[in-house]
């Protein structure tokens, strides 16, 4: 019964969303406080309903209720409990349900924490949220219903796919969705402002923390996906410029731009129109990502054409929301007041520069992702746009941006002093130049680009800390007062420094791996020793082993440094017997920040020997450690009390009667 109740809750949520789409917005237009209040109640109700629906589906998974088609297709009674639960969102229908649940969660958060927002703004925002919710709930009900029943119920579920039984994959999609869907708040605020033709003072103060929260989740989600691909696929790469990866990277890039332009808008009331546009674009890219991944258009343009119901439905949602919001923008943007003025050399100017490069980079990724699809649909010609394309287009755009990063926080608002900023960055400049020279000397001038890249990384690392050191003013006031001042700095200053520092960490990791990794592809017989990155690796032979649902041939290796044994490593070729699915399990051994990475190939024809791929990846873990720094920076910034909305705490007596409205 609980399954059917969950189904009913899903439908009831759709009905409530329909009401929420219309009534609060109408109330805002007519100035009817009661109609506006419906938005709050409905947001909470819809969240509870969807939470119930999601729990009902989870219960069905936990109990292996194969009378639910979705459970039957994606679960198995012998699955470990953790993967039964993660199986709920490990498939199309369940993941869409999670998507709307998170959307409803954000709506409910606005409803409960948005009591200080101007009521019309809040009502409009909740209505716009309900439009998105309604569209996706209808999508779920009509094309991807997770509650479709199967009668009579089969004995056993169909899926025990071993590849998907991975902790990384269990956490990755929810993080990514929290990011994607979190940008819907910025979108709803933007559309609400356009509907009103007025941007309230609280607008940017609200949009920025929500965007920041979404950005933190997206950062972690992308990073985790990247590490998963690195260790699970056994290809040794950490980013493939795959369309699925790009689908999450594009909202991240434009979300990062939005984060920065929202600062300008909050502090200076400038860049209003641009920020609104960015908010729309960022969520549009999230929707595009959902479309690319969910419609099947990536797997095959033809599969999309033969079973188009889902794809067409999402495409329609995409067109209505992107087209509608952009049209609204075109009509209403001119009615928005423009804000404060500033000189090109100023904090605002630096942030505009940041936005310029980030959005242009987003555009190149967009072109690289969509062009092959469009070309194939239009002409049938098939091309593949891969790493070479992005190295040529994306990387050159990032270099000037990264060079400019340390300057930003050092420039004053309105009118900055570039010479002064440069002066304060002397240390960073010196360290960066020194790095370049040392790197050139060590590589005897063979790795010019990599040396420059390393210099860029060091420049970011030190440059991002300069602002903090300068503001603490250790040199003048001494250590103890300096630390006291450091403590008194607003958290957002720490957040900025941490995030920029993390960016530097990631850059160093990327440069080191790309330029200095050693890759040896070799045939090894037992007893053979090969060197990689200063280590010797001895192949001790193959052994066979049985796992719970697979058999594997394990290659055993011993790692030595200058003859002393450091430990053993193993890499395996696995065969999951039930599905006859072979996989490669890479062997990874971490030494500080660097990793040795072993991957087995086929055995050679005469047997005994086997092809082995050995990578030494210096500082590879910095790539992901950097992203963790960025996320922590985001969290610190989010904790800044100043980001919380300027709640009209003390009210004039004139408004006392209104206090009841906020409870």
């Amino acid at each position: 019964m609980i399954v059917e109740l969950g189904h009913y809750a899903l439908i009831l949520a759709l009905a409530a969303s329909l009401i929420q789409s219309v009534v609060p917005a109408l109330g805002a237009r007519r100035g009817d406080a009661r109609m506006m209040e419906v938005g709050q109640a409905s947001s909470l109700g819809v969240f509870l309903l969807l939470g119930f629906a999601f729990s009902a589906l989870t219960v069905a998974y936990v109990n292996s209720d194969f009378s639910v088609l979705n459970v039957y297709q994606n679960s198995h009674s012998a699955k470990p409990m953790l993967f039964k639960i993660s199986g709920v969102w490990g498939n199309h229908e369940g993941s869409m349900l999670l998507w709307v649940l998170i959307l409803a969660l954000f709506g409910a958060l606005v409803a409960s924490f948005g009591r200080d927002l101007p009521p019309t703004l809040r009502a409009n925002v909740l209505s716009v949220q309900a439009w998105i919710l309604t569209a996706f709930l209808a999508f779920i009900l009509f094309t991807s219903n997770p509650f479709t029943r199967l009668f009579p119920a089969p004995f056993e579920g169909e899926d025990l796919n071993p590849i998907l039984q991975d902790v990384g994959l269990a956490i990755h999609p929810p993080l990514l969705y929290l990011g994607y869907v979190g940008f819907s708040i910025a979108f709803s605020f933007a559309v609400a402002a356009l509907m009103d033709g007025k941007i309230d003072a609280a607008w940017a103060r609200w949009v920025r923390p929500w965007t920041l929260a979404a950005w933190i989740f997206l950062t972690l989600g992308i990073s985790m996906g990247s590490y998963w691909a690195y260790y699970e696929l056994g290809w040794g790469g950490w980013w493939f410029w795959d369309p699925v990866e790009n689908a999450s990277f594009m909202p991240w890039l434009s979300g990062t731009a939005l984060l920065h332009s929202a600062v300008v808008m909050e502090k200076r009331s400038a860049l209003k129109v641009w920020t609104i546009l960015l908010a729309i674009l960022t969520f549009s890219l999230s929707l595009l990502g959902t479309f690319l991944v969910r419609s099947g258009v990536l797997t095959s343009v033809h599969a999309f054409a033969t079973d188009p119901s889902r794809g067409i439905f999402i495409l329609m949602i995409l067109c209505v929301f992107i087209g509608g919001s952009l049209a609204l923008f075109a009509f209403r943007a001119s009615t928005l007041e423009s804000g404060g003025l500033f000189q090109p050399i100023s904090r605002e100017g630096a942030l505009v520069l940041n936005n310029l490069f980030l959005t242009t980079a987003t555009a190149t990724v967009l072109v690289g992702t969509l062009y092959p699809l469009l070309l194939e649909m239009l002409t049938g010609e098939k091309i593949s746009v891969g790493e070479p394309f992005f190295n040529l287009t994306f990387a050159p755009l990032m270099v000037p941006l990264l060079l400019a990063v340390p300057f930003g926080p050092l420039l004053a608002w309105k009118r900055g002093d570039i010479a002064g900023a440069t002066q304060r960055l002397y240390w960073a400049i010196g360290a960066a130049l020194l790095t370049v020279i040392i790197a050139l000397a060590l590589t005897q001038g063979t790795e010019v680009l990599a040396s420059l890249g390393l210099g860029l990384g060091i420049w970011l690392l030190i440059g991002s800390l300069v602002d903090l050191v300068e503001r603490a003013n250790f040199r003048k006031v001494g250590l103890s007062t300096g630390f006291a001042r450091l403590k008194g700095l607003p958290r957002s200053a720490f957040g900025t420094a941490l995030a920029h520092f993390g960016l530097g960490v990631t850059v160093v990791g990327i440069v080191c791996v790309s330029a200095f990794q050693t890759e040896v592809v070799t045939t090894m017989a037992p007893g053979d020793v090969r060197g990689a990155g200063g280590y010797e690796i001895r192949f001790d032979g193959m052994s066979e082993r049985d796992g719970p649902n697979y058999t594997e041939e394990v290659g055993n290796f011993t790692v030595m440094e200058n003859g002393t044994t450091l430990g053993t490593m193993e890499s395996a070729r696995r065969l999951y017997t039930a599905r006859q699915m072979p996989t490669t399990e890479a062997g990874i051994r971490t030494h500080w920040f660097s990793q040795l990475y072993l991957s087995l190939g086929d055995s050679t024809a005469n047997g005994g020997a086997t092809v082995v791929r050995i990578w030494y990846k210096p500082f590879v873990t910095l790539i992901w450690i950097g992203t963790i720094f960025m996320a922590i920076g985001g969290v610190v910034s989010l904790a800044d009390r100043r980001l919380r909305v300027g709640a009209p705490a003390a009210r004039k007596s004139r408004l006392a009667g209104a206090a009841g409205a906020r409870g």
């Binding site: 009913y8 409530a16 009401i19 009817d32 109609m35 009900l141 404060g340 206090a659 009841g660």
Partner: protein, 438 residues
Amino acid sequence: MIFWFIVAGMTLGVVLLLVHPFFSSRIGSAEARAAHDVEVYRAQLEELEADVERGTLSEAEAGSARAEIGRRLLKANAAAGGRGDDEFAAPVGRKSILAGIAVVVLVPAISLAAYRHFGAQGLPDLPLSARAQPAPSGGVGEDGGIGMLIAGAEERLRAEPEDGEGWAVVAPIYLRMGRTEDAIQAFRNANRLLGPNPVRDSGLGEALTQSAGGEVTEEARGLFERALQARPDYLPARFFVALDLSQEGENADAAAAWEALIEKSQPDAPWMPIAQSALADARQKAGLPALAEGTQPGEGAQAQTQAQAETEAPAPAQAAAGGSPVARPEAQATAGEPGPGPGPEEIAAASQMNAGERVAMIEGMVSRLAERLDTDPNDAQGWLRLIRSYSVLGEDEKAQGALDRALGVFSKDDTARQEISNLGRSLGLEAREGGTPQ
């Protein structure tokens, strides 16, 4: 019923939640948005001063920022203080009553209509644990129960693969379910862990035979013989030995084996029809005279029909090589007719069933045959089979009824009438002329 109560409760809850703002006295007038702006700017000014106090902002910077925020504050103040038209009226207007009515009507209407369309009303949850208990009236519950039992047993065997008893339990179930390869594996494991036993040997032999597409393989034959050494009266093993002899073309030996089997079997043993037809076939091929009619009531009649059928059907030994051995002779026994005769799986299943299940399966088959004859009565062999089946099942009244109807149907076809009345007589039924055709 309780489901609809909960649905009604949920719907009511949502409707109340959505309409409560229209009745709540807590909703005052919403404050003017300009007042909000004022508060935001004031908060900004406070933060600015706090920054200056901590010394994180120079006085010069602070001054210009203060001036700017001040300017915005003044503007917002003017807007807030100027006119009250931004303040919203609290009384419930006509329009908001309409909105409330829309909620009350639309939410239940939409959700109930949509649920009727998308939902599966009243379909209970069928979690693994519920499916483990056999449902009172067979059907899904029962099948699910077996699947469940097997899943449970498999789980235990994964944990303790050396549990011979466990393998011995699941093996015949696998065989019955048609999971032949699993059955072979399970029988082998059980034999390895517990040592051979005639029943398991015979089961393994049968599984191997099924797996070989009906051919009794060397290994299977060896297993059946080993079973018979330990337990000479184990009839299923004898059946397959006889089958092998037929397949090998050793007709005289085969005839003897079949005869011995029939002698020892209960008349209603599931393999009897096959055994009899195979016996007749083997005798014919061996050049022995056909058995005399009416040696045993019922059986004789079957043998007779069998003999008639033989002229148009290939011999079982040849047929068996191509298909399931267990099925083919039966198909012949029913004159190779299409329609709802038992399939190979059903027969295989029947040999493994307990008595109650077997009767249920046979009754099911008989009633399907009766249904088919209702719609397509012009099938003499079908009627013969139906009458005989009723008689075997002890349902003389139904047999009589079927006989009457069959005679009615074939009132113009003398050969068929003759055949039907002969059968009726042999079964002790009364051939009443002029039975009404359906």
